[in-house]
Every structure is written in structure tokens, then in C-alpha cells.
Amino acid sequence: MATAEKTKILVGLGACGIAAGAQRTMDSLKQRIDELRMDNVELGVSGCMGMCYREPLVEVTLPGKHSVVYSGLTEERVDRLLDEVVSKGQIIEDWVAKADDMAGSEDAFFEKQHRIVLRNCGKINPENIDDYLEVGGYTALKKALEQMNPEQVRDEVTKSGLRGRGGAGFPTGIKWGFCAGAPGDVKYMICNADEGDPGAFMDRSVLESDPHAVLEGMAIAGYAIGAKQGFIYCRAEYPIAIRRLGIAIEQAMERGFLGDGIFGTDFSFKIKIKEGAGAFVCGEETALMASIEGRRGMPRLRPPFPAIEGLWKKPTNINNVETLANISWIINKGGDAFAALGTEKSKGTKVFALAGKINRGGLVEVPMGVTIREVVEHIGGGIKDGKRFKAVQMGGPSGGCIPEELADTSIDYDSLNRTGAIMGSGGMVVLDESTCMVDTARFFLNFTQEESCGKCTFCRVGTKRMLQILERITEGKGREGDIELLEELAATVKKASLCGLGQTAPNPVLTTIRYFRDEYEAHIKERKCPAKSCRALITYKINPDICDGCHVCHRVCPVDAVQGDKKEVHSINPDLCTRCGLCKERCKPGAIFIE
């Protein structure tokens, strides 16, 4: 029997799907399909479809029909799905998130997206190379090896205008040229999968959902620069990605897409996985190479650039996961097709991990040039709980906060730089009125201060001093002149640090001062946190008109700060209260508020 006559069910088993219970959905589907002897059903795994906010997601393709993605498919819903959809061929309209030939609840999420990097994510089984081949996998590698010489490959990528997606935005084709032109027989190709921005998961999703696309991009890059050995440096916190990469490499070796004499040519290329060990600075290219060599991951001065002197002192090219996932598309469709998307200086698309106080958080890919507002309001469906949109944080610890007033900024390298933030690797965290901007700056400084490798004084001591100042401001002990002191320190740390970590660490502070100076001033001068978030500056209170004396707050308070007998109006003793918020969380009538 041909597989085309079977019903195909794919369960999205990315990290966020699993967190939402997708593995239980999978197990239950397997069990029920067995018990019901549904022989005509083929059950498979897929990766991340991007709609993290609607997980678990299950895609069903009935024989001869278009596929339909059902959302919120927890294990309790499995029986109804199998009965109504699979057996009876009906559609459960309320659960449809997306379908090719009918409206789904999540269409707005996809409308403005353009998927190149994510083209296969959530659509194919990442653990089965045949799925990748079916959608044209490895044809770009074949084309490059059989019809193009390395220089032509580099030219095509240069023509596409693709710039590095790891943060710095350097033109990829030109970078490949440096390494190709460097003297030496042994060269290395590294894929940077360290993804250190603590609010971003684009690379993880691509690796988990479409690992072969990254391998193919690496092999093409290897050919273009003259490398025979590739390394993927992946953070250890991504066990699913590492496992799927391992499976993918094995399958590609078996089929001859990696290994010796690929497609009968004399080009050989192999890939090894190196697991990171938990250091943000190892995402920086020279630190990353030190780490692969087995040393402490400390950056060094450039030049010499890795293209001349890299891993084990050999010419090395290093690219980000997303950069590489674009390559096969560019080779197949041509550099011009890629360059047709985006703005004058920023071509193609960019993937963002949309998170924070947003209704539809997930993975989105948009053409360069759309505005931040379009992403937040249209794709992301606006702010959660009807609160006010305050800012987006882009670029993580190296980036900055862009206020709502500038939300019409176009998403391209230059426009974003002008705001003081950066494109970054793709973290986009949406903040609402309840987020304190001083605390946000403190959060990032705390991160960079901890992750500073300690090699240069300005980064090591400068970030620490800045953090101390931010801490005292959020604790209500800020002093007159602290803002100016922060600005001065920021300028020095930016100028005098050796690597990108220190050079960009002040950005979150500088952008919040630039756009939210009044919030800093309120903390310092009035000892107030306008967002009502900094603990030292708020008090929990009970509204006597709403309190019904249910006594729950009294019961849950870990420090006995709530006074009052049952059926009487309660009150909170501010001297005992630690502002843990448990009482507010549990108060049914909603009588507890923050002042």
C-alpha cells in the first residue's frame, strides 16, 4: 500500500511542545492507534511550527486532502481527534490553528511572515532524512558541487546580500572570500550554535526542526572556502538539538551527502559536534575556538582574524545557525531572489523569538523592512491582558530597549542601530507597563557582569560598578548624579573592552536612560518605581471594600504579615511583608493591590 493513502499525523516535538505536554500526546496517540488497530495511520515527529503559544500542535493529513494543524492538543483530546478527524474524516473547526484550504484561528500569526529559514520547520520529520530529501534537500549541495566552482558559490552568496545572523551582520559571501583566500591546505568551517542571548531560541528551533538544512549549508560553505572538516558548537542546554544533529549527521554520512567524495566529486566534508559547557562568552568567535581546543573560553584580540588564524591556528570560517540555514535556499533560487526581499542594505528575512508580555509568542520569520509594530501587534496579537505596550528589548545583553514611540522603526540593521539597540541574533522580548526599565537594565548588567570572562579590566570591573549603581537605584538608595555616572562608565566600558561582550554590555543601560530617563529619576528622587515592580519601593495593600475576609492571604503568607480574623477585613503589616506576592496571587476577590 502506498503511503500516500495513509493518514499522516505529525506531533510537534520541539522543546516548547514537549514542555506543553506534546510527548504525552504522542504516547497516547501511539497507544490508541495501536489499540484501535488503525493500520492506515502513520504517526511521526515534527519540530517547531512556531506557534509556541498554542502547543501542543498536531498536524493531520488525510489521504488526498490538505493538511490541517490542530492546536492545544493535549492527551485528553486525542480520542476525539482520532474519532472525528481520522475515522470520520471530519474537521474540528474550533481546534484548527492553520490549514491550507480553510481559515484557521492563527492565520494572522502567519500572514506577514515569509519563511525561508523556517521553511521546513514543523513540516518535516527532523529525524528522517527522506523527509528532507522529499522537500528538495541536498539538491543545492549537488548543484554547487556539480555545476559551480567555489568562487561562483561565494559570488552567489555575496550577490544575495546575506549578512551574518549571529549579531554582527557581516556580509557572509565576503567573509567566505577571506577564508578561501587565506594561505594553507587545512581549513575549518564552524557553525556557531551557542545561542547565548537569554531570551532567544531561534537557532535551537532550527536545529531541532530542520537539522539537515544546517548541515547542507555547512557543506556548501566548506566547499566555498576549501574546508574538509566542520564543527558545530552547540550549547549543552539543548539536548534535543544535539541528539537530532547526531542523527542527521549519521544519516547524511550513510547516504553520502557528507563524508568522502560527495556526489562522486573529489570534495570531502565531515562534521563533528562539540558541546558547550555553559559560558555566554563562548559565543564570541575567538572564545569559541579556544573552547573547542579545550581551554578556558577567553576571547583574544583580533587581528589576526579567524579567517587567517583560527582553530588550531588554521584559517577558519565561522557562521551562525540561521546564516547557514539560508544557504541552500540561496543556491537553489539564486542570490537575486534573496536580494529581492528586504531593504536596500538588509536583504532577505530575519527570524525572531517573540516572547514576553505578548499574546502570541513564538518563532516568527519576517522580511527585513517590516516594522516592530507589525510584529508586535499584528503577528504577536498585541499585549497580554490588555495592558499598555511599553517597549521591545532586542539583541539581548548586547542590545537595547526600543520604546513604543519608535515601534514604527523598520526592522533592518541600520534603522535598528540608530535607535541604540541592535538587530542582534533575534531575541525580541515585549515589555508592558508593569516592567520596570531600570530593573530591566539591572537584569542585563547582572547577566553580562556574571558572564564577563574577566580578562580585561574595563569589562570585569566596569560592568560590576555599573551593576552596583543600578542595584542601589532599584533598592531606593540611588543618589543624585548616578545617571551621569552610569553614562560615563558606559562610555568607557564600550571603548576599552576587548571583545563584543564588554563593548556592547552598556547598551541596555544607555537605551533605557535615553528613552526612560524619567523612570530613573523617579527611583532616585521620589523613591518610586512607576512600574510598581521594584520591591523596595512598593507596598502591598488590601482594599477594604473588596476584601471578604476569606482568610486565604493570612494562611498563605509565609511571614505572618497579614492581620485580621475570618470574615473581617484584613490588612498587611508593611514592616513584616517581604513582597513575595503570594497573597495577591491567591486572593480570589482581587482585593490586594500594589502601591
Binding site: 522543546a15 516548547c16 514537549i18 514542555a19 506543553a20 509556541c52 503559544y53 502547543e55 547565548g196 542571548d197 537569554p198 531570551g199 532567544a200 531560541f201 535551537r204 528551533s205 549543552a236 542546554e237 539543548y238 539536548p239 562539540k274 558541546e275 558547550g276 559547557a277 555553559g278 559560558a279 555566554f280 573552547s291 573547542i292 581546543e293 579545550g294 581551554r295 578556558r296 573560553g297 523569538a353 516572547a355 514576553g356 508580555k357 509568542g361 513564538g362 528589548q393 539581548g396 531575541g427 522580548v429 515589555l431 516592567t435 530591566t440 537584569f443 542585563f444 547577566f447 570572562c453 498563605v556 509565609p558 513575595c580 506576592g581 503570594l582 496571587e585 491567591r586
Partner: protein, 171 residues
């Protein structure tokens, strides 16, 4: 068989088999590029990196033990102290931070009577803070061993701990 005495997770001194380590070293080869993978596998096998393990690695790879310690203390992943049976990792990434991660750590610390980064007296739980675990849309998030718990609040934390405690009593 070469054994060394190291404290086991139950607190007793126990003879531990270094053969496992020798096999790991043999598989990875003794090049300097193998140091980090060997430390990772050794930590998987022993739960942490006891002094004896570090010294053996130093001798086998001909790397001074000071350099091995240099590497071990540079990377957040490596530990020099034994951990509890269950490791609780509370996400403090950006999305989780703005969703109140601090309160989640506080709730775990309160329920378990343990400070962040420490292990409970009964050696059942170790409480840690980590950066983004990649489930930002479920913030605030915590991972216990391999399992992820999303949209946590103070009550959710108590429930999760109760579940693990109940399970422990059964075992």
C-alpha cells in the same frame, strides 16, 4: 581495579571506580581538544567532578591539574560538589525574568528550605538558576531533571514539590 574514596550522595564514604573514567579517556583520546568532552562525560558518570577524577584526568592528558581546575571553574556546567537527586533549574532568562522568575526561585527556596545554588539536607533537591531554556512562551519556567514546568506561580511550585516528595516516599 583502581578505586578512590569519595563521599557518595548519601554522605557516606564509598569506594568509587575510576575504571569508568579510564574508559571515557580511552574513547576520547588524550589530545587537549578532548579535555572538555572528557570532563562532561565524567560528570555525567559521577554526578560531579571529585578531586580524584580531576587528578586522574590531569595525569592521563598530561595537563597540569591547575589547568584542569582552570577549565572546570570557567564553565558554569561543571561542579566540584555532589548534587541532589533532582536538579531544579529555574529559568532566569529575559522572558522569565519579566514574568517573575525571582519569585519562583524564592518559592522553591522557601518550600525546600534551601538557598539558590545549594542542595537540601536530605540530598534530594539542588536548586539552581539558569538562563533561557527556550520555552519563553511558557514563562516563568523551571526544569526539574528533564521535565519542564511552565506558567508557574507560588502555588504551582508547591504542587510540583509535593508531587516529587510523594514519589520519593513511594520509592
Amino acid at each position: 581495579m583502581d578505586t578512590s574514596s569519595i563521599p557518595s550522595s548519601s554522605g557516606n564514604v564509598e569506594r568509587v571506580n575510576l575504571d569508568v573514567l579510564d574508559e571515557i579517556i580511552r574513547q576520547h583520546g588524550a589530545g587537549s581538544g578532548s579535555l572538555i568532552p572528557i570532563l562532561q562525560k565524567a560528570q555525567d558518570a559521577y554526578g560531579y567532578l571529585p578531586k580524584e577524577v580531576i587528578e586522574r584526568i590531569s595525569r592521563s592528558l598530561l595537563v597540569p591539574s591547575s589547568s584542569v581546575y582552570g577549565v572546570v571553574t570557567f564553565y558554569a556546567q561543571f561542579r566540584l560538589k555532589p548534587v541532589g537527586k533532582h536538579i531544579i533549574r529555574v529559568c532566569h532568562g529575559t522572558a522569565c525574568h519579566v514574568a517573575g522568575a525571582e519569585k519562583i526561585t524564592e518559592a522553591f527556596a522557601r518550600d525546600l528550605q534551601v538557598a539558590d545554588g545549594e542542595t537540601t539536607a536530605d540530598r534530594l533537591f539542588t536548586l539552581e538558576s539558569v538562563a533561557c531554556v527556550g520555552c519563553c512562551s511558557l514563562a516563568p519556567v523551571a526544569m526539574i531533571d528533564g521535565e519542564t514546568f511552565g506558567r508557574l506561580d507560588g502555588r504551582g511550585v508547591s504542587k510540583v514539590i509535593k508531587r516529587y516528595r510523594r514519589q520519593e516516599r513511594k520509592d
